[in-house]
């Protein structure tokens, strides 16, 4: 994983030295990043429970942005944790050069990221896609690519549509252009453009023409 050209923005990571700004554990939300023992961990899930005497406890599902490891630590809601501010920049997908996916920012700087760091995003990357994505940087390095919340993809194969069912409740499998399989409504046909929610990876509906 590397950047082959200077970033178009200055990258600022974490608080300014000497001015450590801490946040209460309960202020962290999904997508935010905390520094635990020198490692950046992104919050995938935060569970809040009231304990005794008006106190509360939090359980997080965290992913290490550098190693991909996961953990589920628990904190008191008022424990002080160090937030990490990540730099983001808009990028679009260019091409794949094994094992790296290459994206381009508006100033034509290339951002390279290994396939293993793309996680679920990888399922929806197809050649020629024009979605405006966000590259996320930690310590000057791109660590992930975030797709827009809703993307449109074309169905390359699915079983024939079920006649008469327009409710959308009956589901079947469909294969996208890149081989990803997704559950879609039974009325979807080969060649249809469908909307997908990238937060859940689920089919949303047929894309409007």
């Amino acid at each position: 994983m590397s950047i082959v050209a200077p970033l178009f923005r200055t990258v600022t990571i974490g608080p300014v030295p000497g001015k450590l700004i801490m946040k209460n554990a309960q202020e962290f939300r999904s997508g935010q990043v905390m520094n635990l023992n020198g490692q950046p961990w992104v919050v995938l899930k935060a569970e809040f429970n009231k304990s005794g005497r008006n106190s509360a406890v939090m359980k997080f599902k965290l992913k290490n942005l550098l190693t991909g490891a996961s953990q589920e630590p628990v904190y008191k809601a008022d424990d002080k944790l160090e937030p990490v501010t990540l730099e983001r920049s808009e990028v679009t997908y260019s091409y794949y050069s094994e094992p790296t996916y290459v994206f381009m920012d508006p100033d034509y700087n290339q951002v390279e990221i290994d396939a293993e760091n793309l996680g679920d995003t990888l399922k929806f990357i197809v050649d020629g896609m024009t979605d405006v994505c966000e590259a996320v940087f930690y310590d000057g390095r791109p660590i992930s690519i975030e797709l827009p919340t809703t993307i449109v993809r074309t169905v390359s194969y699915t079983e024939p549509a079920v006649r008469g069912d327009t409710s959308g409740k009956v589901m079947k499998l469909a294969t996208l252009e890149n081989g990803t399989e997704i559950s879609v409504s039974a009325f979807i046909e080969i060649g249809d453009a469908i909307e997908i929610d990238t937060r859940t990876g689920e089919f949303k509906g047929r894309a409007k023409a």
Binding site: G52, R53, V57, K59, K61, K76
Partner: protein, 426 residues
């Protein structure tokens, strides 16, 4: 030495306790400190920020001394439960700013009771100690399902890893704080004679003690002010079953006197209809155990009293610590959902109504007389259920033993091996 002492290595424990709620926090911490020393032979420092609350529970304590050694008291069970070489507990005043006093700073296990926020000096000492040190946050008791998932979870902080230790009623939690021999205490207090003798030991006149001991249905009442008290006393006054209400001094005592319309000095009793009220002195943990063990029903306030009454196999009504947004009612209902499994439906309904009303649920009916009539009617079944529940609680082991045995790495891997995302490297 006890068998448990022989099996476990001796470690140095530091327990840090801030007194937030009179006797609840220190009650738990002192009980735990004693149990670690007495039953497990552990070296224990107990750091407390308010020795004046502590002295009410432990009259041996000198609140003027910043550092002192106390011998763990006997539990309410058998007289022979004190090992011959029971180490004393070092009680230390948690001062601001923090000072180590004459205590040994190095510890094997540091317990932060109820998230009391350790002093920076202690954290610093822990950071120097290395990976052998175990840092635990002992949490509040809850019967809510999420407790199992939070128990033993790591909490990386300041270069260390703290672990959450969650007391609870279910398998997979840290269990409940009790001494194994506590469950035997009701048998010792069962006879009217034993109860009368104990009342006499509290300075009641022998004749009064023996007369009151003839009333079969005894209810202990300890707690804070409670607006639901008058209707409860009205209900018992009007019932056909004679009830002896035992009221050790607490904040609720003034409510009892208001209802009576007169003072009720310690050691004196008053009768209103079927209800006889007896004022008792504020008592030590040992005597309070005896009170709970001698009573047919216990109306308790703190988590510790709540647990002890259950381990004694007694029908219990909990005045839970009130929280913002009525969060305490969710906790109460979570407990009742567990506790009432297998209970006759009418009894369960009556108990739930009485419990929620006693805890100020605005949605409950405005009177408790009907549900208390039912509770007294169903008392034999309630007592049987409480005995069965006691066995359920005992099955998960006591909290002090579970703490001594706790090894975070082993626990995490064994308990969460079914979870693919749980890193066993901790």
């Amino acid at each position: 030495m006890t068998q448990q002492q022989q099996q476990q290595p001796v470690r140095r424990w530091q327990i840090f306790c801030r007194v937030v709620d009179n006797f609840g926090d220190i009650g738990v911490c002192w009980r735990l400190a004693q149990q670690l020393a007495r039953e497990h032979g552990q070296q224990v420092q107990l750091w407390v920020d308010d020795l004046h609350s502590f002295v009410a529970l432990q009259p041996q304590l000198n609140p003027q001394l910043a550092s002192q050694w106390l011998t763990p008291t006997r539990t309410g069970g058998q007289a022979s439960d004190q090992p011959a070489h029971c180490p004393a507990v070092q009680v230390l005043q948690w001062q601001q700013p923090f000072r180590w006093l004459d205590a040994e700073p190095q510890a094997s296990v540091v317990i932060e009771a109820f998230g009391c926020q350790l002093p920076a000096e202690v954290i610093s000492q822990m950071q120097q100690a290395g990976s052998e040190l175990l840092w635990l946050n002992l949490e509040y008791l809850s019967a809510e399902p999420w407790v199992v998932d939070f128990h033993a979870a790591p909490s990386p902080l300041q270069g260390l890893t703290r672990y959450f230790f969650m007391p609870g009623f279910a398998a997979g939690t840290g269990g409940l704080l009790y001494e194994p021999q506590l469950a035997a205490l009701p048998a010792q207090m069962a006879s009217p004679l034993a109860f009368a003798d104990w009342l006499e030991s509290l300075q009641l006149p022998p004749q009064t003690a023996r007369q009151l001991a003839q009333i079969d249905c005894r209810v202990s009442l300890f707690g804070y002010e409670n607006p639901a008290l008058p209707e409860l006393l009205d209900s018992w006054q009007a019932t056909t079953l004679p009830v002896l209400l035992l009221v050790p001094q607490s904040k609720i005592s003034s409510g009892v006197e208001q209802w009576l319309g007169q003072a009720l000095p310690v050691g004196e009793s008053q009768q209103r209809g079927a209800l006889t009220l007896l004022a008792l002195p504020f008592m030590s943990q040992l005597d309070y155990d005896r009170l709970l063990a001698a009573s047919s029903i216990n109306l308790v306030r703190g988590e510790e009293s709540f647990v002890r009454s259950q381990i004694l196999g007694k029908p219990t009504l909990w005045h839970i610590y009130p929280q913002q947004q009525l969060a305490h009612l969710d906790k109460l209902e979570a407990f009742l959902n567990l506790y009432q499994q297998g209970m006759p439906a009418e009894l369960a309904r009556a108990l739930k109504t009485a419990s929620l009303r006693w805890n100020g649920d605005p949605e409950q009916p405005t009177t408790t007389s009907k549900c208390w009539d039912q509770l007294l009617f169903w008392l034999p079944e309630w007592q049987k259920h409480a005995e069965d529940w006691k066995k359920h609680c005992l099955a998960h082991g006591d909290l002090a033993t579970n703490l001594v045995k706790f090894r975070p790495n082993e626990y995490s891997c064994a308990a969460f091996s079914h979870r693919n995302d749980w890193p066993c490297a901790w």
